[in-house]
C-alpha cells in the first residue's frame, strides 16, 4: 500500500457518531438561481422529466441540461461562486431539442469532452460535445439509431476491450395505442459498438421488455462484468417483472432466470439508486414505486455461489417512504428519482426521493412531498425532508444531488411536471468534512465508468460504483462525493473498470482531487476558475 502519510486509527474511529444525526439545511434558490424550466406536456410526458448534470465549461462547476417535455430542453451554465448562492445562466448549447424526457451525460467518444444522450418521445439523439458547452447531433456519425419510441431509461458501460460504450435504452408503452395500450411495451434496445469501429451497431432488442423506467449497469456480484438491472412499470406490462440481464462481452444478452436465483418482483418500478450501504462490498438497490418502495440487500449464502437473491429491507431500515409525512394527505405516495448521497457529510449516505402524483390520480397523494431520509449509525433512516427544507409539494420527477457551488455540501435540483424545476443550496452549518474526487484514465472510457471508488473510515470501507444510468431519466458526471464526518484526512483508492486495484492514498479532508490511473491524487482548487 502506498500511503502518503499513515493514518491514525484513532483518527478514523467514531466518525459517524459526531454528526450522526445532523439535519441538513437546504435553502431554495429557484427564484434567484436563474433557473426557469418547466417539464411540460400531456399524456406522453406523464413520466420522464430528467436533468443531466455535468461540467462542460471546464471550470469544475456542474452545469446542467433540464428536459422540457413538449417544450425545448434548457441548458444552464453554472456561474456560482465557491460557497456562494447558486447562480446559473441560460445559454444556447445545441441541446435545446423538444420532446426530451430525460438526459444523461457521457463521454461517448473518449475525447475528454462530455457528450449527451437525449431520451425523447420520438427519435433519441446523441450529441457530441464540442467544448465550451456546445453540442452537435452525432446520430449519423456514430451510427446511432434513435428509433421512434417513448424512451424513458438509460444506462451505459464499456464492455471489456471495447473502444466505444454500450448503451442500454429503456422504452415505455406504445404511445399510438389509445384504447388498449396495456401490454404494448416497446422493446428496450442495447446499442453495442460495431466490431472494430468507434460507432454503434444496429441496436439489439432486449426482448422481453416490460415498460422500463430505470436501468443500471451494475456489477452486483463483483464479478468484473456488470449486469443490466431493469426496473419496470407493472401498470403496462403483462407477464412482466423486474429484470436482470447478463451482458457478457461477445455474447447475446440473456436474462437471469429463476433457476439462477432471480426472484420475481412486480412493482411500479420508476427509479433505481444503488450504494453499498452494508459496507460488505456489494451494492444495495433502492427501487422507487407507488406506495411502498423497496430496498434490496443481497442475500449472502454461508456457502456456495452468490445468487441474485435479495431481501427487501425497506421496512426494517425505515425507507418505505410510502405516504406523505407532512402536508396532511394520507393517500399513498408516488416515487420517481432516487439517489444516495451524504447530505450532512457524516460518513453515512442519505437517500433523496423525488415525489409527485402521476397525473391527477385521486387515490394517491396530490401534495406529495419529496423525501430526504437521513441515515443513522445503526443503518436505519429517518425523515428530514421537511426540516431540511426540501419537502416540495410540486409534482417531482427527475432530480440530481450535486455540489453546485463546490463548497463540499451536496445541493439539489428537482424537475417538476407542469411546474418550475426547483434548486436548493445545501447551507448546513453543522455538516461534517468531505472529499470529492474525479476519476480518469487513458483510453476510450475516460471517466472510468464501472470503476469502484473506496474510502476507508475506521473499520469500514465506504465505496460507490461509478455508474452511468439509473435514477429517473437523470444522470450526472463529474465529482464523486464522500462525507467524512470529523476526519481531517482519508485513505482513498480506485478499483478501475478492468479490475486493477489502485494504490491506497491519503488525502486531506475538505478537498477536491483528480484521481488519474497510475498517478498520485492531484488536489484541485475550485477558486482557480
Amino acid at each position: 500500500m502506498r500511503l502518503v502519510i499513515a493514518l491514525s486509527i484513532a483518527l478514523l474511529t467514531g466518525v459517524a457518531s459526531a454528526n450522526a444525526q445532523a439535519i441538513p439545511s437546504f435553502i431554495e434558490e429557484t427564484e434567484t438561481a436563474g433557473i426557469d424550466s418547466i417539464f411540460r406536456g400531456e399524456w406522453e410526458y406523464m413520466v420522464g422529466g430528467g436533468v443531466a448534470v455535468f461540467d462542460c465549461s471546464g471550470d469544475g462547476f456542474p452545469d446542467m441540461l433540464l428536459a422540457g417535455g413538449s417544450a425545448p430542453a434548457k441548458f444552464y451554465r453554472n456561474v456560482s461562486d465557491v460557497g456562494g448562492e447558486l447562480r446559473f445562466e441560460e445559454a444556447q448549447s445545441g441541446a435545446e431539442l423538444d420532446k426530451v424526457a430525460g438526459a444523461y451525460p457521457l463521454d461517448i467518444d473518449g475525447d475528454g469532452i462530455t457528450d449527451l444522450v437525449l431520451l425523447r418521445v420520438g427519435e433519441n439523439v446523441v450529441l457530441r460535445g464540442r467544448g465550451g458547452c456546445r453540442f452537435e447531433r452525432a446520430n449519423e456519425d456514430w451510427g446511432f439509431e434513435g428509433g421512434d419510441g417513448w424512451s424513458t431509461a438509460f444506462a451505459a458501460m464499456w464492455e471489456t476491450g471495447a473502444d466505444f460504450p454500450t448503451l442500454a435504452i429503456g422504452n415505455y408503452v406504445d404511445r399510438n395505442e389509445q384504447m388498449f395500450p396495456w401490454g404494448s411495451c416497446t422493446d428496450n434496445w442495447l446499442h453495442r459498438p460495431m466490431a472494430g469501429e468507434r460507432r454503434f451497431a444496429a441496436p439489439l432488442p432486449l426482448t422481453p421488455s416490460y415498460c422500463t423506467l430505470s436501468m443500471l449497469f451494475t456489477d452486483w456480484n463483483r464479478s468484473g462484468t456488470p449486469s443490466l438491472r431493469v426496473s419496470n412499470d407493472r401498470e403496462y406490462y403483462k407477464g412482466g417483472q423486474e429484470q436482470l440481464w447478463h451482458v457478457a462481452p461477445g455474447e447475446a444478452p440473456k436474462l437471469y432466470t429463476a433457476e439462477e436465483g432471480w426472484q420475481r418482483l412486480r412493482i411500479w418500478g420508476m427509479g433505481i439508486a444503488s450504494y453499498d450501504l452494508g459496507f460488505d462490498g456489494y451494492p444495495d438497490y433502492f427501487l422507487t414505486s407507488m406506495a411502498d418502495n423497496k430496498l434490496q440487500r443481497l442475500v449472502r449464502p454461508e456457502t456456495g455461489e452468490l445468487l441474485p437473491r435479495y431481501d427487501d429491507v425497506a421496512f426494517a431500515k425505515g425507507v418505505t417512504a410510502h405516504r406523505p409525512y407532512v402536508g396532511g394527505e394520507i393517500q399513498p405516495s408516488t416515487a420517481w428519482h432516487a439517489q444516495f448521497e451524504d447530505v450532512n457529510n457524516d460518513g453515512l449516505v442519505d437517500l433523496f426521493v423525488a415525489k409527485g402524483n402521476v397525473w391527477e390520480m385521486p387515490d394517491f397523494a396530490q401534495k406529495d412531498p419529496n423525501n430526504l431520509l437521513i441515515q443513522k449509525p445503526d443503518g436505519t433512516f429517518f425523515e428530514a425532508g421537511d426540516t431540511a427544507g426540501v419537502a416540495s409539494m410540486l409534482t417531482g420527477r427527475g432530480a440530481a444531488l450535486a455540489d453546485f457551488n463546490l463548497d463540499g455540501r451536496v445541493d439539489l435540483v428537482v424537475v417538476n411536471r407542469h411546474d418550475k424545476a426547483q434548486i436548493w443550496r445545501n447551507a448546513s452549518e453543522d455538516a461534517g468534512r468531505w472529499v470529492q474526487v474525479k476519476i480518469e484514465q487513458d483510453g476510450p472510457n475516460r471517466d472510468a465508468v464501472g470503476a469502484w471508488i473506496e474510502v476507508r473510515r475506521g473499520d469500514v470501507e465506504m465505496r460507490r460504483e461509478a455508474t452511468s444510468g439509473g435514477g429517473h431519466v437523470s444522470g450526472q458526471t463529474g465529482w464523486w462525493h464522500f462525507g467524512l464526518g470529523d476526519l481531517d484526512a482519508a485513505e482513498i483508492r480506485v478499483i478501475w473498470p478492468d479490475g486493477v486495484e489502485g494504490e491506497w492514498a491519503r488525502v486531506a479532508a475538505d478537498g477536491f482531487y483528480v484521481l488519474a490511473r497510475d498517478a498520485e491524487p492531484v488536489a484541485w482548487d475550485p477558486s482557480d476558475r
Partner: protein
C-alpha cells in the same frame, strides 16, 4: 357435452387497426357490451383501489346496468324488487323510438366512466377513446332525435344504478382499502400481518362484510362452521392442516405449480379472481355469438354472485379472523418457509377465491348446464397456457385447491369456501329475468 374453444381476442367489432381506429361498422348492443367489458377487465387491473372485493362490486353494478338497459326495451323482467334496494329503472317514453345500441353504449359509457373515475391517466385516455369511437359509430345514420333520446335514456339507467350503489357501504375506498387505524386481535391464532409493505399492516377492507348484499339478504346469509380449533400442538387438527400445506409446498409438482400460478389472479397484475370468471363467461358468450339479452342476463347474475361472494366471505373472514399459513408455519414448523404465492393481506378463513369460484360455478352451470366443457384463456397474454375443464365445478375446485398449492390457505378454508359459494350463488340463479 358442449365444448367451446373460445377466442376472446377475435372481436366482432374491434377490428382495430394499428392506430386504434375501429372498423367503420355499426356495432350491435351485444358487441358494445362485450367491448366495454373488455375495457373493464383492463381497468380493474390498472385502477389501484380495485382489489378483488371492489372489482366484484363493479362487475355487479355494471352487469345490472347493462341488464336494466336491455330489459327496459322489452322481453325481460327488471331486477328491481329482486335485488336489495333496487328500485325500478326510469321508464322509456311511450311510443317513442329508441336505438338499443345507442342505449347500451350510453349506459355502459356512463357506468364505466363513473365506476372507474379514479383510474389513472392511461385508463382515462382509453375510456375516452372508446366512448368517442363507439358513440360515433352507434349514432351513424340514425335520426338525431332517436340518438338524443337513446343517449339520455341510457345515461338515466346508468345514473339510476350509480345512485343505488352509493349507499351500499362500498362506494368509498380509501388508502387502497387498508384502514389507517385497525386494532389487531391478540388472540392466539388470530391474523397477523404477513407483508413487509407498510400499508398492509392492517387487513384489506375489514368492514366489507357489512356492505349491503345484492341478491342474498345479508353478508351473514351463508354462514360457515368455525375452522378447526387453533392449536400449535403436533397432532392437532389445526397443526395437521398446516403440515399439509407445508408438505405439499415442499413436493409441488410442475402441474400443481402451474395451477397455483394460473389461479393466482393477483390484484394490480391480473383482472383479479372475479375478473377471471367474468373473462370465462365473456369468452364463452362471444364464441357462441350470444345475443345481448343472454349476455346481459348472465353478466348481471354472475356479477351479483361474485359481489355477494366477497361480502359473505369477508363477513366470515372477520368473524373468525384466522392466522395465515405463512405465519403459523414459520412460527411452529419451519422459520424459513416460503410459499410460492404472495399471501394476501387479510384473514385466512374462508378462502375468497374458493367462495367466489363456487358461486361462479353455480351461476355458470345453471346457465350453460352440467358437463359444459370449456377452455380458459384468461392469462394467455401473460404467457400462461390455456387450461381445459370438463365443467365449471371442475374449474372452481381447481381454483380452490390452487390456494393450498400456493401456500396461502388451509384445506378447511378451501372446502368450506366452495360450500359457501354454492350457497351464495343460489341467490343469483334464483333471480327471475324472463317475463
Amino acid at each position: 357435452m358442449n365444448r367451446i374453444r373460445p377466442f376472446l381476442a377475435a372481436l366482432i367489432l374491434i377490428a382495430a387497426s394499428a392506430t386504434g381506429i375501429f372498423a367503420q361498422e355499426r356495432p350491435s348492443p351485444d358487441q358494445i357490451l362485450h367491448n366495454w367489458y373488455r375495457m373493464v377487465l383492463e381497468l380493474v387491473r390498472h385502477t389501484p383501489t380495485y382489489s378483488p372485493p371492489v372489482a366484484s362490486r363493479a362487475f355487479a353494478y355494471l352487469g345490472v346496468t347493462a341488464y336494466e338497459a336491455t330489459a327496459s326495451g322489452g322481453g325481460l323482467a327488471s331486477l328491481s324488487g329482486q335485488l336489495n334496494a333496487l328500485t325500478p329503472a326510469p321508464e322509456r317514453e311511450a311510443g317513442a323510438a329508441y336505438d338499443e345500441a345507442v342505449v347500451m353504449q350510453a349506459a355502459m359509457a356512463f357506468g364505466v366512466r363513473n365506476f372507474f373515475g379514479n383510474t389513472g391517466p392511461t385508463g382515462q385516455r382509453a375510456m375516452k377513446a372508446m366512448e368517442a369511437q363507439l358513440s360515433k359509430l352507434t349514432a351513424a345514420d340514425l335520426p338525431e332525435d332517436v340518438v338524443a333520446r337513446s343517449v339520455a335514456y341510457g345515461e338515466a339507467v346508468g345514473a339510476h344504478v350509480l345512485d343505488w350503489s352509493m349507499k351500499d357501504g362500498g362506494a368509498v375506498v380509501e388508502n387502497m382499502g387498508f384502514p389507517f387505524d385497525h386494532a389487531l386481535n391478540d388472540r392466539p391464532g388470530a391474523w397477523a400481518p404477513t407483508s413487509l409493505v407498510v400499508q398492509q399492516q392492517a387487513p384489506l377492507l375489514p368492514k366489507w362484510g357489512e356492505n349491503r348484499a345484492f341478491a342474498m339478504p345479508t353478508g351473514a346469509s351463508c354462514p360457515l362452521p368455525p375452522p378447526p380449533s387453533f392449536s400449535e400442538e403436533a397432532g392437532s387438527d389445526f397443526h395437521a392442516e398446516a403440515l399439509e400445506v407445508y408438505e405439499t409446498s415442499k413436493a409441488l409438482t410442475p402441474e400443481q405449480t402451474a395451477i397455483a400460478r394460473f389461479w393466482s389472479d393477483d390484484p394490480m397484475l391480473s383482472p383479479t379472481p372475479p375478473g377471471h370468471w367474468i373473462f370465462i363467461a365473456m369468452d364463452i358468450l362471444q364464441a357462441k355469438k350470444a345475443d345481448v339479452a343472454e349476455r346481459a342476463d348472465l353478466l348481471a347474475r354472475l356479477g351479483v354472485a361474485l359481489a355477494d361472494s366477497f361480502i359473505g366471505c369477508w363477513h366470515a373472514k372477520f368473524e373468525y379472523d384466522l392466522i395465515r399459513p405463512v405465519t403459523y408455519i414459520r412460527r411452529v414448523i419451519d422459520p424459513n418457509w416460503q410459499p410460492i404465492l404472495i399471501t394476501p393481506p387479510f384473514p385466512e378463513y374462508p378462502s375468497g377465491h374458493s367462495t367466489q369460484s363456487g358461486a361462479a360455478a353455480a351461476v355458470l352451470t345453471a346457465h350453460f348446464g352440467d358437463d359444459f366443457a370449456f377452455e380458459d384463456a384468461t392469462h394467455v397474454d401473460e404467457g400462461l397456457a390455456i387450461r381445459a375443464f370438463p365443467d365449471f365445478w371442475a374449474a372452481a375446485e381447481e381454483a380452490a385447491i390452487s390456494r393450498l398449492y400456493g401456500g396461502i390457505h388451509f384445506r378447511a378454508a378451501i372446502e368450506r369456501g366452495l360450500d359457501q359459494g354454492r350457497c351464495i350463488g343460489a341467490f343469483a340463479t334464483a333471480l327471475k329475468t324472463v317475463e
